[in-house]
Symmetry: C2
Subunit: 334 residues, 2 copies
């Protein structure tokens, strides 16, 4: 059974991370506030090292290991930002990293992982195959598995983004983060309630992959029923640990459709001149929809999760004529 992270773990993570991460800026816009009817502060984790908040959790987890354990290396299965972040974290601690990625992972993500000298292991593109391959590596190498979200040290690390946000903007009333496996949202909620017990915390999720919203409503883990979404960082499902933390700390999970995500992403680029990835556009879209009364007229803080986008395949390309066309299909449907 996994240890449950607490606010004190986020404070410890903050001091541990000190020199290894950027204190990312906060941006605001009167134009955007008028559009969504709230006063919004965006925490720019798209400007974090590696272009995503994932550096926080990965570095905290790697730096939390004692020397005897650390020297055996770290292992994970992730085709996305966590794999690259763990490679970076291991490289900077001078230990080995093994990263399992499914075949078909885009070359740009492979390169981000290889850049820091991690060993790559290809597997079939299923969650089961990924977990099996990672477990096999743990058995062979004796290293430590650092799960992308089902890990107290990772959750505590992710929570440091909200901690910084609330230090810099202590009057925020509502916090929102996108939800996939739930590590960022759980960490955000723990940080928010540690700083301000009356803060209201929301998740934001694509309607097409709304397992977290359904699990939250049902009070139990529901892991099937997700469909493809343009928000490629939000395709994982909650773990028992993250669901427990989210049920304890989160007021609700707002959902948005694919067209709303694409429209919000484009609008954000236009207004803020900042590149955010589709996953980050999910809470932006939730604000713009005005469907969640808890945001209206409030001071809302939003974690922008990352900015790693394939600039050759922007989602509004070939999608511009009508604002309300059909939902986008994810190209490979996996």
């Amino acid at each position: 059974m996994k240890a449950i992270p607490h606010f004190a773990d986020i404070r410890m993570a903050q001091s541990r991370l000190g020199p290894w991460i950027h204190r990312t800026p906060i941006v605001r816009s009167r134009s955007f506030d008028q559009l969504c009817g709230a006063l919004v502060s965006f925490k720019c984790e798209n400007l974090q090292r590696g272009g995503a908040f994932k550096a926080r959790g990965a570095i905290n987890a790697v730096r939390s290991l004692d020397d005897v354990t650390a020297v055996k290396g770290v292992i994970t299965h992730s085709s996305g930002n966590h794999g690259a972040a763990l490679a970076l974290a291991a490289h900077e601690r001078g230990i080995a990293a093994d990263v399992v990625v499914p075949v078909g992972t885009p070359k740009i993500k492979i390169m981000a992982i290889e850049r820091y000298g991690a060993r790559l292991h290809l597997c079939e593109p299923t969650l089961r195959a990924r977990e099996d391959a990672a477990d096999a590596l743990v058995n062979v190498r004796g290293g430590t598995l650092i799960h992308p979200f089902d890990d107290p040290a990772v959750i505590a690390g992710q929570g440091t983004a909200a901690l910084e946000l609330l230090e810099d903007a202590p009057d925020l009333e509502v916090l929102m983060a996108p939800v996939s496996g739930g590590g960022l949202l759980a960490g955000t909620a723990l940080a928010a309630h540690g700083m301000n017990p009356s803060a209201v915390v929301f998740g934001a999720e694509p309607l097409a992959a709304d397992d977290a919203a359904r699990s939250f409503a049902a009070g139990r883990l529901i892991q099937d029923g997700n469909r493809p979404t343009i928000a490629d960082g939000l395709r994982a499902t909650l773990s028992p640990l993250t669901l427990d933390l989210i049920r304890a700390h989160v007021a609700g999970i707002a959902t948005v459709d694919e067209d709303e995500i694409v429209g919000a992403m484009r609008l954000f680029w236009d207004i803020f001149k900042l590149v955010i990835e589709p996953s980050s556009a999910v809470p932006v879209a939730a604000l713009l929809s005005r469907r969640t009364p808890a945001f209206l007229g409030r001071r809302v803080g939003v974690i922008l999760s990352g900015g790693n986008v394939d600039l050759d395949a922007l989602p509004w390309m070939g999608h511009r004529a009508q604002g309300a066309g059909k939902p986008l299909e994810k190209p490979d449907g996996s």
Copy 2:
């Protein structure tokens, strides 16, 4: 004959602009520094009000008018960021603005001008027609013509970007700004030498529209011979005033081809997660080319001029297969 702006005018502009503009941030990247062999600080005028440095010059010019003059309104001819910036400046001073734009100006630019209540006047798409239309308005209305760059108050306003940059990063050895009509480059050079007489100042210009480089080399104004360039903000030519200032203060003008501009723009987005327009990518490309020895190993400050990009028509779209394809043609060739 126009008054020549001095460093003291930039200082006055800074105090005049105080509450009306953003103090934009500076960004740096170790990855980028390795690629170009210099230590680069980018001043983010893409995050300025209106998405470009133009707010500085326009607001300074409008705020410099005495009340009797101001109440008659201001007039300009500009289809680009200056027209919108002047509309904003006039709106905030509560005076009228008339903006002459050529037919065929993209709707998004028209909307940016109209947003602040400026009166629009269409004319034929030639510099002569624009100037004639603006002069006619001056005669009819009695307002003040605020030229996009051939104006001491505009030049002094643009110089405040470099002033802020050097206040925040006083150890910079080299400064670079893109050059079109020369207002930004002249203001940058005046600010640089006012702050640090030994600073070396460079302009950066598209090879396709290198009138400033040719004028600088010849020591006299050459206004013909420009071809289309993707850097839509850099199609104007120097005025006698800006050429004089540039000859007095600038060490050289680096030129880059169209492929270099597009490649630099895309690379910048990828590394910094910041949206910059093609004009801003021109000095970025000049650094990446490593053709200017004065940059190598130096602390270089670069003014990123703006971030107003048509996100539906990014220049690398349909241009991605080969890094070294043919130069791009500007769609309308004007």
